[in-house]
Symmetry: C2
Subunit: 300 residues, 2 copies
């Protein structure tokens, strides 16, 4: 473990490593239409916190696993996250022109290409994750990772959350409905990332369960923090106007329980996350603890 | 092997088995939005020849494998085929209102839901295929199947073919370009289906190579036959007006080399397919031979 880095340096360091890997996903020698490569790469390069891949790596490290062996899965989950943003931004969905201050995929490459680039990223993610096998992860573990990736990102996971989010309206959805959306739209990929990192390092069922509890808590905290920042943040930091959720009539935590109680909930969930990995089940939880703290305090 | 069925009965029998399995993909006890289940199921139920799953099963049988163990992969490939049709029909893509005489997914459920139902089917396909493990297929083989499924259906495979097809125009694309489109848009899923069936049955590399050659030939023949039927077929049999490719300025084999030579090419490719599995590499090629013949003679 690189104990000489503080958590900000740690995140920056591994975000950069993941980004370098992501540039190599569609090798030049592959005979694929240039525009498809360009469109997929455009969105992969569009920045972001790279939170999910960092959680994969940190979870692997927490059980003494090799970061290198976890890298294919780290890239795969970022590809899935990226495809979901491309599809989410489409005119038929959220109809967003900008994301992180850059034009959205369909504004640059057109709708048809954006749909197909998303499909290609989603599909390729399973290929990329499967490459963990050639880095020494046992076939049974890689297979379990692929199977869970499909579960947590599919109908029972992220896509289910997207559908629920699409159907939700202020006045028609309650706090339970909102929690379903957040759990699946956001927490599920986070839970998957942690479990997959744990599996790369050979974590057992009890250890995976601790990661799941940690992930559910920081995932929900992360999303509530997003809702809070939408109210309190600035355009410069968010890359989108503050208050845009309210304007779009999106259901949010502050809408239901107010800003103060939302902030309180973030602190409680962070405590729960900390407690889930502090009982001794996780061999070396230091980075996971720092990440929970970092996420609670972020302002963008 | 059920030698008492002729090839038409064989196809009907296993199409029915696959359809029964497909109904159980999103179990009622799964807590997913009802509309997502309905939308995905609508397109899975929309009929079609179920050619790809039948090729999985026939390839497994050709090497003495258990049909039951091949069933998850058979369903998975039909899910991938189905998602590709849903996305292909979208207004931003081919903008089709009908498929096989039924309203397309987005005409019934709206565009956003159609995009998400496609995403859910694509994702779930990897989960479904992974279930072959619990039916006794070794983890290494299942992993190889998932990895190849991603390759053959992603950027280097079907999605790449879709992109090339979207960009192709009469006058701007040549016969080589058309072959690229057909190879990836159609043949790749067919090649995958055969290889995956072979893997379920424990086929070795040389045997998988024979299946690949067979698949490349019948895949191309299948697509040329489709082009021919678009010129010569009837609305009643095709579920769409004959001549619709010509009207949409689609590049087709008859457009490049005429009807007679296209028909000749189908016969040649069928001969190549037959020869690929007749040299003794494939233990029991009977159904594969019958399927090649059936596909050449089909009129819808």
């Amino acid at each position: 473990m690189n104990t000489d880095m503080n958590i900000h340096e740690y995140i920056a360091h591994y975000a950069k490593e993941v980004e370098d890997e992501l540039k190599r996903l569609f090798p030049q020698e592959w005979d694929i239409p240039g525009i498809l490569r360009e469109s997929a790469q455009y969105s992969l390069d569009a920045g972001g916190k790279r939170l999910r891949p960092i959680l994969v790596l940190a979870a692997a490290e927490a059980f003494g696993g090799r970061m290198e062996a976890a890298m294919p899965v780290a890239c795969a989950i970022e590809m899935i996250h990226t495809y979901s943003l491309i599809h989410d931004d489409l005119p038929a969905m959220d109809n967003d022109d900008y994301r992180r201050g850059k034009l959205t995929n369909h504004k640059v490459f057109g709708e048809a290409m954006a749909i197909l680039a998303g499909d290609a990223l989603l599909t390729q993610a399973f290929y990329t994750a499967s490459q963990a096998r050639s880095l020494g992860v046992p076939a049974e573990q890689v297979l379990a990772i692929l199977s869970e990736m499909a579960e947590y990102s599919g109908a029972r996971g992220m896509v289910g959350g997207q559908v629920a989010d699409m159907q939700a309206e202020q006045g028609a959805t309650d706090l339970n409905g909102l929690e379903y959306i957040h759990l699946h739209k956001t927490s599920d990929l986070i839970i998957f990332s942690l479990r997959a990192g744990g599996r790369v390092a050979g974590a057992d069922e009890k250890q995976l369960e601790a990661l799941t509890r940690y992930g559910r808590s920081i995932g929900l905290a992360f999303q509530i923090q997003d809702d809070i920042l939408d109210v309190t943040g600035t355009l410069e930091k968010l890359g989108k106007p503050a208050g845009s959720d309210e304007k779009q009539q999106k259901v949010t935590y502050p809408f239901f329980i107010g800003l103060d109680e939302s902030m309180q909930r973030v602190r409680e969930l962070t405590d729960e996350a900390v407690s889930a990995v502090s009982s001794g089940t996780v061999s070396n939880p230091q980075r996971l603890l720092e990440l929970a703290d970092y996420l609670m305090k972020r302002d963008r």
